[in-house]
């Protein structure tokens, strides 16, 4: 894999956008820093200014006041067109060109940049492998209409990554996918993100998606004001205000449990009588506490037996699952 750039920070500095004719700003003095290599999810209600914030970065929308910097460089220091060629951009419904083949779609930016054919060919093949569309030959000459929604979205991600941009902007990229495909593409994207380390600003209105994907979550409230910015566990444990609490929903406590896997809290030793655990169900170490809780509840048991690849790791009690012995906050070191 030839991934070069490891990412550059994106800094919003009192970024404000008021659309012509609008009484109030769509985005109001946003201060936000997405660190190099970080994945930040931007969430909020419909009309909260998420898309606006994203499009300010690649100058599809012009700032009314304030500034945005990529690395040390203000976005207004270069031409909008040059700027966009250094930013990966993926949107809902993939935005693939219906009259271009998969290969042609992925080659869009490299072609504009004048790469030679051989380099484009190599890069395209590499990207298709990366997004899990292999063997490559099967996909190259297909048209978007011949792909499923999930496959289109994968091609959309490959296209956004094509010229190896240090920064990625994604606007509800998985919004149109059915739940099962969505989870699969999310997992793949997370794996890609960890492998290539692009600074990513990811808009979604699905809070669960944000909790799952984000290093940090920025929550916008109506009027385009930043309500809270923090790690998923910070936001879930300490909502800044009533708006955030309501936005996170009444299952906030359970969602927090989804941040930790059973494998992370299972004690290394077993000190329970086997009679006690005989009726306990089995769970995989990779399951989240929330999922394990569901299994335990369904079995009407007091705990679960944790397995990893066929090996028994130990047991977790109902109490362990509800109030994990390792504080969830301690996982931040693991996340980053």
């Amino acid at each position: 894999m030839t991934q070069h750039s490891t990412g550059t920070s994106i800094t919003f500095d009192r970024a404000t956008k008021t659309y012509p004719g609008a009484a109030a700003p769509a985005l109001d003095a946003l201060d936000l820093e997405v660190e190099a290599g970080e994945l930040v999810c931007l969430v909020g209600p419909s009309g909260g200014g998420k898309t606006t914030a994203l499009q300010l970065v690649n100058r599809l929308v012009d700032l009314t006041s304030g500034d945005i910097r990529i690395g040390d460089r203000s976005i207004s220091d270069q031409s909008a067109i040059e700027l966009r060629r250094t930013i990966g951009y993926a949107i809902q419904q993939s935005g693939l060109f219906p009259h271009y083949t998969v290969a042609h779609n992925i080659a869009t930016v490299p072609t504009i940049l004048g790469w030679d054919k051989e380099r484009i060919r190599t890069r395209t093949a590499e990207l298709l492998e990366l997004v899990g569309l292999s063997p490559v030959e099967t996909w190259l000459s297909r048209y978007p209409a011949q792909l499923s929604g999930g496959q289109q979205q994968r091609v959309g991600i490959a296209r956004a990554l094509a010229a190896d941009p240090p920064v990625m902007l994604m606007d509800e990229p998985f919004g149109a996918l059915d739940p099962i495909t969505r989870v699969a593409v999310q997992d793949e994207f997370l794996a890609i993100h960890r492998a290539v380390g692009k600074t990513t600003l990811f808009v979604t209105h699905d809070i669960d998606e944000a909790i799952k994907m984000a290093d940090r979550i920025a929550i916008l409230k109506p009027g385009g004001k930043l309500a809270q910015f923090g790690t998923p566990s910070e936001v879930l444990s300490n909502p800044a205000d009533d708006f955030v609490a309501e936005f996170l929903g009444s299952e906030r406590g359970l969602k927090r449990l989804a941040l930790t896997t059973v494998g992370e809290i299972v004690p290394g030793r077993s000190d329970r009588a086997s009679a006690e655990t005989a009726q306990w169900p089995d769970v995989e170490a990779t399951m989240t506490l929330r999922e394990a809780l569901s299994v335990v509840s369904a079995a009407r048991a007091e705990g679960a037996i944790v397995h990893k690849g066929g090996n028994r790791l130990g047991e977790v009690s109902l109490h362990d699952l509800i109030a994990p012995p390792v504080a969830v906050e301690d996982r931040e070191g693991v996340r980053t």
Binding site: H99, V109, I112, Y143
Partner: protein
Amino acid sequence: MHVIFGAFPFMIDNVALLLTKTGDHLVISLIPLLAAIALGVPIGVWLGHAHRGEFLAVSVTNIGRALPSLALIAILIGFVGIGMLNAMIALFLLAFPPILSYAFQAVDSIDRDLTRAARGMGMSPGQVLLKVELPLGLPMIIAGIRTSAVLTVSSATIATIAGSGGLGDVILNQVAYGMEGVIAGAIWVAVLAILVDQAFALLLRVSAPAGVRQLQSANAM
């Protein structure tokens, strides 16, 4: 009934006449059509690309619809006088609105997400036009030309009123050619219009970009 059958012997006997008149007819239709394409396609495409001038494109079409070609010619005789030029101006005014409004629609109606993605990736406005809007809009642009072509070829018949020849000479001259001649000329024009229509239908199929054709056939199944 015998008059209609009589039209066919008339055609056979007068092939030379009909062919000459067809030649004139095509020239009278083609020149205004080409002028309408040369003007209407660029203006329509440009307005569509800028997502502006919907008002203009729609009003031109409505005025075009409201004015029957016969009335147009009558009005123009007043201004330009009788003659070939007069007929061609009338036919141009007839051909222009559909070409303009289809070209506008073709580009204006392209999914905004697509053009947003194209711009977001760093395509210049010219690249968005050439690589995305024109290829995807082409079938509809051609559909507009098709409408105008059929309209022009069939309406050129009445250009005779303005004294410019063509098959209208035969159709509108029962004294010289008899009822058989009138009907023969009418059938001839109808066939000509159908041929023009079918030629464009073919062009339309070929012009749809491959990925889009896939989509159409997939939807048809």
